[in-house]
């Protein structure tokens, strides 16, 4: 079986080096501003750091993708155009884009810069993927986390574009790129600001035996002493609806699809993506290492070794998410 490409996150130069050392085929990262969807405090790359990171990766045979996957702000489009131009200049192997205006701009002005379609574009069927390929020359699409494995296989039968799927990390329950929950509560959204449930609006309060997490004015969760601490990501919160109280949208849980790697390979997937540019180099090293073994095992026709990554996950628990149809 062919070896699947392992696409790994890097929020800092140190994480980029950790990913390369741990066996990443490809690393993805972004500039330190609102042009990328992990615009978090203390994270991301200056132009100089990006150039040095790409040089370091290329010397070791690793590719680097630059995510410019937020939606340019009207009147400030130049910031996004500069990000594309600078990624091109420093030798990025591809840019990951979501906005059709920016895709059109890049296809026109940087025709030889490879274009990947971000999960933020939410391209969930063969028609729309073929649309992006024909209109903007997109070579690879990162599939939204709303599809089951048979659906991914069916999509691959109808397209020539490469597909990349998430296999590990934080899990969007909503279709990415089409969610304004965060800006409803905080004024800042993934699409406009590159943040979801931003740390600047997070408040933790100890209330008796309970840890209360709030986002802006809204209470997102309350947990007792022994439960894992919840980051107040809106869609993982505990709410009440009708007569029921609970995790209405999704539990505080992360994706771990290591066991599905052989099925992904059979479904015609090109690359496996690990989420977590906001995580530490310790996370990157551990997760990349584990998935390197899994991908090798899959290519050799061996069974996938059980993963020991639960500790690293939000909620300290894992799911196969939408890849299993009953998730819906």
């Amino acid at each position: 079986m062919t070896m699947l490409e392992l696409v790994c996150p890097a929020g800092t130069p140190a994480s980029l080096r950790a990913a390369v050392e741990a066996g990443a085929d490809t690393v993805y990262c972004g500039f330190a501003d609102e042009t990328n969807a992990r615009n978090f405090p203390g994270l991301n790359f200056s132009r100089e750091e990006m150039a040095a990171g790409i040089e370091y990766a290329h010397e070791r045979g690793t590719k680097v993708l630059v995510a410019i996957n937020t939606f340019p702000q009207a009147g400030n489009e130049a910031l996004w155009h500069r990000a594309v131009a600078d990624a091109h200049t420093v030798g990025a192997d591809a840019v990951i884009l979501a906005d059709i205006g920016l895709l059109a701009y890049t296809a026109k002005h940087h025709g030889d810069l490879r274009r990947h379609l971000s999960v933020q574009a939410a391209a969930a069927n063969p028609d729309v993927i073929n649309f992006y390929a024909e209109e903007f020359g997109v070579k690879r699409v990162v599939l939204p986390r709303v599809l089951s494995v048979p659906e991914i296989a069916a999509i691959n039968r109808e397209i020539d574009t490469e597909t990349e799927v998430f296999v590990f990390g934080g899990l969007c329950v909503m279709e990415e790129g089409r969610c304004s929950l965060s800006s409803y509560a905080t004024g800042q959204s993934p699409n406009m600001n590159g943040v979801c449930s931003p740390a600047s609006h997070v408040v933790y309060e100890q209330s008796g035996d309970e840890l209360v997490s709030k986002l802006g004015e809204f209470t997102i969760d309350k947990v007792g002493q022994d439960a894992p601490a919840p980051y107040p990501t809106l869609c993982k919160g505990c709410f009440s609806a009708g007569a029921r109280t609970g995790h209405v949208f999704e539990d505080a849980i992360s994706l771990d699809a290591a066991s599905l790697i052989p099925q992904m390979a059979k479904a015609g997937v090109t690359a496996l993506k690990i989420e977590g540019r906001q995580r530490s180099r310790a996370y990157v090293a551990a997760v990349v290492c584990s998935f390197r073994q899994a991908v090798k095992a899959c290519a050799a026709g061996q069974s996938i070794p059980p993963s020991a990554l639960a500790k690293l996950s939000e909620g300290q628990d894992n799911t196969l998410g939408a890849y299993r149809k009953t998730w819906r």
Partner: protein, 301 residues
């Protein structure tokens, strides 16, 4: 300023749908009506057969009729729905770019609020491809709306904003109504039909927060821009979108019409809506506040 009635987002019984649009045709001062299923393709068979009749009646009443495309398209059956839309002979509202594959070259179309139009590059691309009327995403602030309205209207397209009704905040592969009932999406038994305006989702501290509607997540508050029509008009917007709810939408449309025409003041308009409101919680924060949930006319509720 034009008024557009957006597509019904909720799963109502067919006879209710028929009555609702009959009243809109006869009584509501609405210029454009968007018809059809945006949220869940499983709902469409219940009322699909009624659409031609409703569309004709609305057209006879002088309304421009536009058929909405589905918001999240994954299944073969859903793709077939899109090709049916093109053949129906009405204008089409694109709510997912998948629809672009089914439009004929040079066919005019409109764009719904679920398509990400955040900047002039995207606006230019869509207008060049035939977009004649674009409803912007609800999360944009008024300054950005002004930039886009100026750019869009110069290029010959109408620019619309979300002006009334629960805000469509997210769409998912998962059905939350079914999940809440302990079912999966495929065996949902249409539990969503019990909530005519969606089901409220409160925080553990009893704050009103969100509402679920099948695979869609809405705000619990109703966006309400009736007190802000002057500012929106000043930004160059050409049309306001009112989203159908179970309350008296003819009254809502009449109030907006009167406010837009300057026949009543902002305060009077707000009071007229609040007086008959089913839910007292409004918001206008995406356009005018720090967060989407903010409400700047707090003297009203």
């Amino acid at each position: 300023m034009q008024l557009t009635l957006g597509p019904l987002m909720f799963h109502w019984k067919p006879d209710l749908i028929q009555d609702f649009y009959a009243r809109i045709a006869d009584e509501a001062p609405i210029d454009r009506v968007v018809l059809g299923e945006v949220v869940c393709s499983k709902r469409l068979p219940f009322y699909e057969a009624l659409i031609p009749e409703i569309a004709e009646r609305l057209a006879r009443a002088g309304k421009e009729v536009v058929l909405a495309s589905l918001g999240l398209v994954t299944l073969k059956r859903e793709r077939a729905m899109l090709s049916d839309l093109v053949e129906a002979g009405f204008a089409v509202e694109v709510n997912d770019l998948t629809m672009m594959r089914y439009l004929a070259k040079n066919q005019k179309f409109t764009v719904g609020p679920l398509v990400n139009v955040y900047n002039t590059g995207t606006l230019d691309w869509l207008i060049a491809r035939g977009a004649s009327h674009i409803c912007l995403p609800p999360e944009l602030p008024i300054e950005t709306i002004a930039t886009l309205a100026d750019h869009g209207t110069r290029a010959g397209a109408g620019i619309e904003v979300w002006a009334y009704g629960r805000l469509p905040l997210a769409i998912s592969g998962r059905c939350y109504h079914a999940r809440l009932a302990g079912r999966s999406k495929d065996s949902c038994l249409f539990v969503c039909e019990e909530d005519m305006d969606g089901l409220a989702v409160d925080t553990l501290d009893d704050q009103k927060f969100l509402a679920i509607n099948g695979v869609q997540t809405l705000s619990e508050s109703r966006a309400n821009m009736v007190g802000d029509v002057a500012a929106i008009d000043g930004a160059g917007v050409t049309s306001l979108r009112l989203s159908p709810h179970s309350e008296d939408m003819v009254h809502v449309a009449q109030t907006f019409r009167a406010a837009c025409d300057g026949n009543i003041s902002a305060g009077e308009a707000l009071a007229m809506l609040a007086e008959r409101a089913v839910s007292p919680r409004y918001s206008n924060g995406f356009m005018f506040g720090k967060t989407g949930a903010d409400w700047s006319h707090s003297q009203i509720n």
